[in-house]
């Protein structure tokens, strides 16, 4: 029996991780191919792959994937560019925090998806509307989480910097920001994951392209194989972006692993 908190080797970790995917697909195949679940409700894995292949080769699904990725990245980058500096300022300057924190905390609970009808009214069903959904969904979360992280910077490090002659600005630039950079990168990785859910919702309503659009189109045809393929593609892209983010963080912040 494994003991609590006992580490496992890298090899075991990979094997165990993959084996759950295998188990999952096996259970799915058993339920569908074995005839326990109606094909109308759930396609089997083989049909799903065939449908997926068809989508990619005949229906230009790659273009849909591309447009969805573009929307997520676009909306997310705009949100991060505004939210990270604001969050740092809020974390560093308490009066600024007192000014903005109540509103941001309130705005954070406004569900991005509930804005979609309003945003369609304001911005139509073009790209602007998709970007805005992702922006609204991400920006307040990033602001708050960055502010909390910066606000929790070790006080003794800040004090040490002051005794070494740092100015207030020097403390922000050369202590608060570098001390929290890895945490901020981690926050961005997390919120990017959430941004993915917003984009799909935005595409389900009022869109003529993208993964979400394909899924809602397939629903009309009861093509569960295509729908599942779309969902799995989202998962795979999420996994890849997560992996990339982690790799970049590791190379940017070697001192964390040192």
């Amino acid at each position: 029996m494994p003991r609590p908190l006992e580490p496992v080797s890298q090899g075991t970790r990979v094997t165990l991780g993959i084996s759950f995917f295998v188990l999952f697909v096996a259970a799915w195949a058993f339920a569908t191919l074995g005839g326990f679940v109606s094909r109308t409700f759930l396609a089997d894995p083989i049909t799903m792959l065939q449908d997926g292949w068809l989508l990619l080769t005949r229906f230009g699904f790659l273009g849909d994937i591309g447009i969805t990725v573009w929307r997520v990245v676009g909306g997310f980058v705009i949100a991060a560019a505004i939210a990270v500096p604001l969050g740092i300022l809020m974390g560093a300057y308490k009066s600024f925090e007192a000014f903005l924190e109540p509103f941001v905390s309130f705005a954070r609970y406004l569900p991005a998806s509930a804005f979609i009808p309003l945003l369609i009214l304001w911005a139509g069903i073009g790209e602007m509307q998709k970007l805005l959904v992702i922006f609204i969904g991400s920006v307040f979360q990033i602001i708050l989480m960055v502010a909390v992280s910066v606000g929790n910077t070790r006080r003794d490090l800040v004090e040490a910097a002051y005794t070494l002659g740092s100015s207030d600005q020097g403390v922000v630039k050369r202590v608060l920001i570098p001390a929290n950079a890895p945490e901020i990168a981690e926050i961005l990785r997390l919120v990017l994951g959430w941004a993915w859910t917003y984009v799909i919702v935005a595409e389900l309503i009022g869109s003529s392209s993208g993964i979400g659009h394909m899924i809602i189109d397939s629903q009309a045809l009861l093509a569960t194989g295509q729908m599942i393929f779309g969902i799995i593609v989202i998962g795979i892209i999420g996994l890849i972006s997560d992996f990339l983010f982690k790799a970049v963080n590791r190379s940017l912040f070697p001192w964390r692993l040192a």
Binding site: L157, A160, Y162, T163, L164, G165, S166, R174, W255
Partner: protein, 263 residues
């Protein structure tokens, strides 16, 4: 002996009560004059306000009353003229050892070439050659505190403040660190204010030991240490040293008993 560099004038500190509790008097009005190039240790049981006094000198805390003058100028906040070494490990974890030592120089805007020269000399002095490109996490506690001392000294402060810098280290390492610090002081003659609760440490390092009493903190005794320099660790077993130790142990014991409520 040269003139007074640091003058503590009736400095007191009262912390406001927490949740409607009574205010805590951490430091009674305290006065102290520190001569240039003196090595002063402030000795006292925990809760005697010795760290509070040091933080006020550093400018990290404000006195409720009184004032502190450094070279005749009143201290209003922290600054590069007073180097500080903390008990907790306060190296910047994202900077290498060399970058940590260079931090204050960079803040001052000293050109890179000159910075590297100063960093190299202090890396040498604290015996960290070969570790310049390591991150603090990769170093032992003793090495981290040596870096912290080098970082403070590289700034060439008028006075060096140390707040139980070796408190978290094991006994052997602590002994080595004391010798290292004393060696640097004997060569460079910096003015040093060193807070500790360790009697041996206080005597071994100091030219003057200030004993503080507990709750509320105030200066109880001011004892010169006339042991010759350079000092070697074997000095800790000489009769003169033992006499001083016995004297201070008695002073401190009474205070510790009062602080703990034992009579």
């Amino acid at each position: 002996m040269t003139g007074t560099i640091l003058q503590i004038d009736n400095v007191s500190r009262v912390f406001p009560g927490v949740r409607g509790g009574a205010p805590v008097r951490a430091l009674e009005p305290t006065s102290l004059q520190v001569a240039q190039n003196d090595f002063i240790t402030i000795l006292g049981p925990s809760g005697c306000g010795k760290s509070t006094l040091l933080r006020i000198v550093a400018g990290l805390d404000r006195p409720t009353d009184g004032r502190v003058l450094l070279n005749g100028r009143e201290i209003k906040g922290p600054g590069a003229d007073r180097g500080m070494v903390f008990q907790s490990y306060t190296l910047f974890p994202w900077l290498t050892i060399a970058e940590n030592i260079a931090y204050g120089l960079r803040e001052k805007g000293i050109p890179k070439a000159q910075r590297q020269e100063i960093v190299a000399s202090y890396t040498e002095k604290v015996g960290l050659r070969g570790f310049e490109n390591h991150y603090p996490k990769q170093l032992s506690g003793g090495m981290q505190q040596r870096t912290a001392i080098a970082r403070a000294l590289a700034n060439d402060p008028d006075i060096l403040l140390l707040d139980e810098p070796f408190g978290a280290l094991d006994n052997q390492t602590r002994g080595l660190m004391q010798e290292l610090l004393l060696g640097i002081w004997e060569r460079e003659r910096k003015t040093v204010l060193f807070v500790t609760h360790d009697i041996e440490e206080a005597i071994f390092l100091a030219s003057r030991v200030i004993v503080m009493s507990a709750r509320p903190g105030r200066i109880k005794a001011d004892i010169p240490v006339d042991l010759p320099h350079p000092r070697h660790y074997r000095m800790k077993t000489t009769p003169e040293f033992s006499d001083l130790k016995a004297q201070l142990t008695e002073e401190i014991r009474v205070e510790a008993m009062q602080a703990e409520g034992v009579h």
